[in-house]
Structure formats: structure tokens, C-alpha cells
């Protein structure tokens, strides 16, 4: 192909990719910008192929130079650093105005913890858990955050515990996740899963259907749950107090900017059921310090009008 055309084409497509890349970083998420950036990337790859073919000789010279290896090492180091996202990189990314279609951030700090989830630029969800007297930031409790549909079916885990073995410390969340996996398999196999049918149409496994309903006339309520547990914390009655479940229902047809999570109980295995099931029971006199892990948990949702 003509050298001048290919060179100019390479430069132009690179320009579009560079500009859309910067825009994607500083601006809120936009499918137009991201689409332009990605698709123009494919064009760029094609044009670069022609560009390489036109400049094969000088390129071979570069490959034989020591700069080739230096270049490779620097690129590999940068790629690894950005991919692993250590704190400085995270902080840098945090400056981005584009929180992506489903970006989440979790932060443990002196006052407790904050979890942010932004499934869309116009829907920003922040869960601020203020620690209670029994919450030790140096030895923070295990916890999971997840959303369920109005049939109480796990839909998405927003934050999972650090510990690998969380079945013991957070049994209710573990059970819910397993149920979800089973139901998803059953749904994929075309089996009618009665547990997810209800008065409302909520048999979907897509969190967006609940958080960002396509049809604003039919928003589906969902609930956010937190299971928290400080393993090994004894009370007068027991050697290890069970985990506690906090919950709040979110109804986009009746929007609230601020909602407090309520303590709904503790999980207990019902061995009589076949197969055994975890159920939630109201808290009883066995609990003391476990009730002090959380002072309050506030859910804040910013709902901007979505861009057309």
C-alpha cells in the first residue's frame, strides 16, 4: 500500500485512539467514547500491519539493538504494575471521572469501611459502615456484601471476604452463593426454579435488571445485605457469637437518597430440612459484642437523570 497513505492513516487513527483514551479517563463513562476507542483500535492494528510491512528494514535494525530489550523490560514492568493495581496506581485510577459501567471501590478506614459501587454513571451507590465499639480496624471482622432480588435470591456479591474459608465465618452468604450457582445452572438447563418466582417478575440473574431497570415503569426492588462476623468472639453465653445479617431494601420506584441497614438476625442451620438450609433468626440474649461491631450502616444512592 502507498507509504504516504499508510503513514498518515497510522498517525490519524493513533490520534483518535489517544484522544478517546484520555477522554475515557477524565470523562464519565460513555459508550460513544469507549466504542470509538476500541473500534478505532482494530483499525489501527490493521494499519500498523501495513506500516510495518512498509518499514521492515529499519524495524529489523531496531530489533537487533539493545534498546529493544530495554523497551521490552520497561513495557513489561509498566503493564505488570498497572495490572496489579498497587495503591499508587489505584489512587491514580481513582482520579478518573470514568468509574466504568460497574466499578467498585472498597476502603477500610479508622471510622469503619466504605464501599462504593457504580453500575452506571447516573447510579452511584455508597455503603458507609460506621464501626461500633467492638470493631477493631487492626483485626477487622470478616464480612460480605451482596444484593438479592425480592425473592431473596443472591444476584451479585459486591464484596467478598478476604479469608479463603468463609463458609464457617460467613455461612449465610456462602449458602446464598451456592444456591445462586445451583439456580443459575438449573435456569440454564431450562428447569423452572420455583424459588425465584414470585409476585414480581424477578427471575433474572442480571443485577442491572434490579439496579438499572430497562423499563422505568417496572423497577424491581432489590435488597443489599451485609453479613459480618468476628471469628472467635465469645460472649457470656457462647464461645463464638454467630455472624449477623444487616439488610436494606432498595426500591427504585420509591427512591430514597439515604437508607439505614437494619439488623435482621443471625443465620442458623436447619438440619431438619432436606437438604439442610440456613435460615435467619432474630437475635437473642447470646449476643453482646457482636452487636457492637457495627454502629450504623448507611446506604446512599445518587440517582442522576440518565443521559439519553
Amino acid at each position: 500500500m502507498r507509504r504516504s497513505f499508510v503513514s498518515l492513516m497510522t498517525a490519524m487513527t493513533f490520534l483518535v485512539i489517544a484522544v478517546t483514551g484520555v477522554l475515557a479517563f477524565v470523562r464519565p463513562f460513555s459508550m460513544t467514547i469507549v466504542g470509538l476507542h476500541a473500534l478505532m483500535g482494530f483499525v489501527f492494528i490493521g494499519v500498523v500491519g501495513f506500516h510495518l510491512a512498509n518499514n521492515l528494514r529499519p524495524l529489523k535494525r531496531y530489533l537487533r539493538s539493545k534498546w529493544m530489550w530495554i523497551n521490552l523490560a520497561v513495557t513489561a514492568a509498566l503493564t505488570t504494575a498497572i495490572a496489579l493495581q498497587p495503591q499508587p496506581v489505584k489512587a491514580l485510577l481513582g482520579l478518573s471521572g470514568n468509574l466504568g459501567p460497574a466499578l467498585d471501590r472498597f476502603e477500610l478506614h479508622d471510622e469503619g469501611l466504605t464501599y462504593q459501587y457504580t453500575p452506571a454513571p447516573h447510579y452511584k451507590l455508597t455503603l458507609s459502615v460506621r464501626m461500633g465499639d467492638a470493631f477493631d480496624p487492626a483485626d477487622p471482622p470478616e464480612f460480605a456484601i451482596w444484593i438479592e432480588n425480592s425473592s431473596f435470591y443472591h444476584i451479585k456479591t459486591l464484596h467478598r471476604p478476604e479469608a479463603a474459608d468463609n463458609e464457617a465465618s460467613l455461612p449465610y452468604w456462602s449458602f446464598k452463593v451456592k444456591e445462586y450457582e445451583k439456580a443459575k445452572l438449573a435456569a440454564a438447563a431450562g428447569v423452572d426454579v420455583d424459588a425465584i418466582s414470585g409476585a414480581t417478575k424477578n427471575s433474572s440473574f442480571d443485577p442491572a435488571d434490579y439496579m438499572l431497570p430497562v423499563d422505568p415503569e417496572e423497577p424491581m426492588p432489590y435488597r443489599i445485605l451485609v453479613e459480618i462476623n468476628q471469628p472467635g468472639d465469645a460472649s457470656e453465653a457462647v464461645d463464638d457469637q454467630p455472624s449477623l445479617i444487616y439488610s436494606v431494601e432498595v426500591d427504585n420506584s420509591d427512591p430514597h437518597a439515604f437508607q439505614l441497614l437494619d439488623l435482621i438476625g443471625y443465620p442458623q442451620l436447619e438440619e431438619d430440612e432436606q437438604p439442610p438450609q440456613w435460615a435467619i433468626y432474630y437475635v437473642d440474649q447470646r449476643f453482646d459484642s457482636a452487636l457492637e461491631l457495627i454502629d450504623s450502616a448507611l446506604l446512599t444512592i445518587d440517582r442522576d437523570k440518565p443521559a439519553d
Partner: protein
């Protein structure tokens, strides 16, 4: 039974009905058992005119009325219960909504008393299972109590008899007016004209029919919630173990015999269409639509949805209530749960028709807005109201005053003696 002042002697009644006194009553026979329905009535004219003098007249033997009558009788009032149908229990038995709720909230029982006693005994006699109130239900209805509707109806009758309540089935009031020492209510049934002279009336008709007859104001929504026709196709119905299927009867209106007829016809037609479409056997069908709402009184106090959802503790609270705001519409229902810890209360003033004396209501026709009513109308709440109305009316009859003027402490005291839970003290 004597044609005048026919109040049955409790001991005689039990002897006659349970031991099978010989007589020419309506005998029901099978190959092995013969049961005599009652003492002979052979001398009576087929269109007998009867007069009763009672302290308390309860009109409507449904969810609230049954409990109100038993309570009034137990509190010592001479009580009569008039029911247009053939059995007690109303929505639970004739409508088939035999899964009453909710007696508990947030891990503890908030409604007990006579209604709970009946439900509990029905379940126990049936070998059923009571829910564990300490468990957080995934859905509010999971703490409803699966009850055998047939047993409930018979047990309710037994408790009425034990409390000395006279039952009059297949009768309904035709006219009511004030007389010197209370009310005169003329009822009609097939072959029966009955005049009842009473000191107090408890209107438990569901639609405040007596209140309307007496000319007091009532409320009614332009669009009422659909009724439910309960049925089961394909497999056997197990009373007391499960809920039956149901379909909405839109436009269901329990205001009068014509609209009730229409609702039943519509419901049955829909069931028939379903049977034909699904080509399955019809295994169970309730005889009547379960109606959700009709007229409500204009009372001394109105319970608004804000009162309900905030769990307002009324100064004259006489019972608790618990259920989500549960408005059924043409497109379905999405219950709005109450916030944790919230237990609404029912004030005495919401049971008293505004400006009335010697008249009280119980059940879904209490004074409330439509959204509050959608939560208040459920059976446990109606039972709680019924018991409170029974106490208020019996005390008013004893002391010659009106329910609204009976000291609240007295009402609470008698309620407590009969096992009820007083609001704020659950």
C-alpha cells in the same frame, strides 16, 4: 327451642347436641352414625317469628365476629351471633383463606387471645405445625399459620356454645332502629323472622352493613381490590398443610347479595376456563370468593397509612396489627414491608362509627384509609379487633354506657384476663 326469648341453656344444648337427644329434627345419617341436629322444632310454624333479648348482638360470624361473640359471651354478656352463611369463620372458612396471619412481628408474638387460641387448637387437633416466630420469614406469609378450615369452623362453634353465644345462621338484618334501652334489629332468614332487642351491636359484617343501615357515614373506594377465588386443580388439596391456588376476581364487591353473586359467578367461570385450558381435574373449590375490601366506617379516629407504617402508638390502642401494606391491584401486588421493629396499633376510636352510641365495628371495615386497610384487614388483626370489640361492648352493656366511654384500663384489664396482648406490652 322455645319460640320466644330462645336463649339456649348451655348444659342442655351440649347434652342435646352431643349426646344425640331423640327427636324429629333434621337427622343426618350415614351407614354407621346417626346424629340428631337439635331438639324437635316440629311444633314451630315454618315461618316462625322469634324475639330475642340480649346484651350484645354480633352481626357477621366471620374472622372478627366469631371472636367478638366468644369474647362477649366469656365476659358475661348474653350474646347472639347472626351470620348470613352456614358456618363461622368467614374468609378463613367459606372463603378458604385458611392461613391466618400475622400473629407475630420481629421475633415475638404481638396478637394472641381468643383468635390465637382457636387457630392454635385447630392446628393441634389437626396434627399440624405452628410456625417458629423466632425465625425471620423470608416472605411475610411464611409465618401465616396453615389451618384446617373445616376444623376451625367446628371449633369456633364449640367455643361459641361454651361461651353461651346463641348462633343464628342463614339470617341477616333487614332493619335496625333505636329503642328505649338499646336497639331493635329485625333479621330475616328462610322460614324465620327474628326480632332482636339488644343493648349493644358489634357490626362484623366486613362492609359495616349495620352501620350503613343505621345511617352512619361509610367510605368506599371507586376501585376496590380484587377478591380471590381459591381452588386446586390436578392434585388433592390438603387442608391445614398448604395454601390452595387462587385467582383474582376483579370487581369483586361484597356490598350486597347481587354483587356477591356476580363475584362468585365470575370466579367460578374463571376456574372452569382454567380447568378446560389445563385439562386437569378440579380437586377443590371454595364456595365463595374471598373479598378484600368493601365499605369502611367513618370513625372517631382514622388510621392513615402513615399511622400504620410508622407504628403509631395510639392513646386508645386496644390491639396490635402486623402485615405489610398489601394493596392488590389489577396487575398484581407488591407488598411493602414495615420497617423492622414497627408494630402498628389499632385505636378504639377507629372501631366506633362517628357520632354513634352503643355501636362498634370490628374487622376490615374499621376506619382507615385504603393503604392502611390493606395491611389491617388480615385475619390476626381482625381477630384482635374482634376480641377488643367484644370486651368494649360487653362492658358497655354491663355498665349502661357506650364502648367509647368504657375506661380504657378496664378494657385492657379484661383483654389481658382473656389472653390478649395489649399494645406496647407484647
Amino acid at each position: 327451642m322455645k319460640p320466644h326469648d330462645a336463649q339456649p341453656d348451655r348444659r342442655n344444648f351440649l347434652q342435646h347436641s352431643l349426646l344425640g337427644t331423640a327427636g324429629a329434627g333434621m337427622a343426618l345419617a350415614s351407614t354407621s352414625h346417626v346424629t340428631v341436629a337439635a331438639e324437635t322444632q316440629g311444633e314451630e310454624s315454618p315461618d316462625a317469628t322469634i324475639t330475642n333479648r340480649v346484651d350484645v348482638l354480633v352481626v357477621g360470624g366471620g374472622t372478627a365476629g366469631t371472636i367478638a361473640a366468644i369474647q362477649a359471651g366469656r365476659a358475661g354478656a348474653k350474646t347472639m351471633l347472626v351470620e348470613r352463611g352456614s358456618q363461622l369463620g368467614g374468609t378463613m372458612t367459606t372463603g378458604g383463606v385458611a392461613f391466618p396471619g400475622l400473629f407475630d412481628a420481629w421475633g415475638k408474638q404481638v396478637i394472641a387471645g381468643i383468635g390465637w387460641e382457636l387457630v392454635r387448637e385447630s392446628v393441634e387437633l389437626d396434627g399440624g405445625q405452628l410456625p417458629n416466630f423466632a425465625k425471620v420469614p423470608q416472605r411475610h406469609w411464611q409465618n401465616q399459620v396453615y389451618t384446617n378450615q373445616f376444623l376451625y369452623a367446628i371449633l369456633a362453634e364449640e367455643k361459641c356454645h361454651e361461651a353461651g353465644v346463641e348462633l343464628a345462621y342463614y339470617e341477616f338484618p333487614q332493619a335496625a332502629k333505636r329503642v328505649a334501652d338499646g336497639w331493635q334489629v329485625d333479621c330475616v332468614g328462610f322460614g324465620t323472622q327474628r326480632r332482636i332487642l339488644c343493648k349493644q351491636i358489634i357490626d362484623c359484617t366486613g362492609g359495616a352493613e349495620v352501620v350503613g343501615m343505621l345511617g352512619f357515614d361509610r367510605l368506599r373506594e371507586e376501585v376496590r381490590q380484587p377478591g380471590s377465588m381459591l381452588f386446586k386443580i390436578g392434585e388433592e388439596h390438603q387442608p391445614g398443610r398448604e395454601q390452595v391456588h387462587r385467582l383474582y376476581v376483579h370487581g369483586a364487591d361484597s356490598s350486597n347479595s347481587r354483587t356477591v353473586t356476580q363475584a362468585n359467578l365470575t370466579g367460578r367461570r374463571s376456574v372452569l376456563a382454567k380447568v378446560r385450558a389445563e385439562k386437569k381435574r378440579l380437586m377443590h373449590l371454595q364456595p365463595e370468593t374471598g373479598f378484600r375490601e368493601s365499605y369502611r366506617i367513618v370513625g372517631e379516629t382514622m388510621v392513615t397509612v402513615n399511622d400504620y407504617t410508622s407504628g403509631r402508638q395510639f392513646d386508645d390502642a386496644i390491639s396490635n396489627a402486623f402485615y405489610p401494606v398489601d394493596l392488590h391491584t389489577k396487575t398484581g401486588v407488591r407488598p411493602k414491608p414495615l420497617k423492622p421493629g414497627t408494630v402498628p396499633t389499632i385505636p378504639l376510636g377507629a372501631l366506633i362509627p362517628k357520632g354513634s352510641r352503643d355501636l362498634i365495628v370490628a374487622g376490615r371495615c374499621l376506619c382507615s384509609d385504603q393503604l392502611a386497610n390493606s395491611g389491617l384487614r388480615v385475619q390476626a388483626s381482625c381477630m384482635g379487633m374482634g376480641q377488643a370489640a367484644g370486651v368494649a361492648a360487653s362492658l358497655a352493656a354491663q355498665t349502661g354506657t357506650t364502648p367509647m366511654e368504657v375506661p380504657l384500663a378496664e378494657i385492657h384489664k379484661v383483654l389481658r384476663e382473656h389472653g390478649a396482648i395489649i399494645p406496647g406490652k407484647a
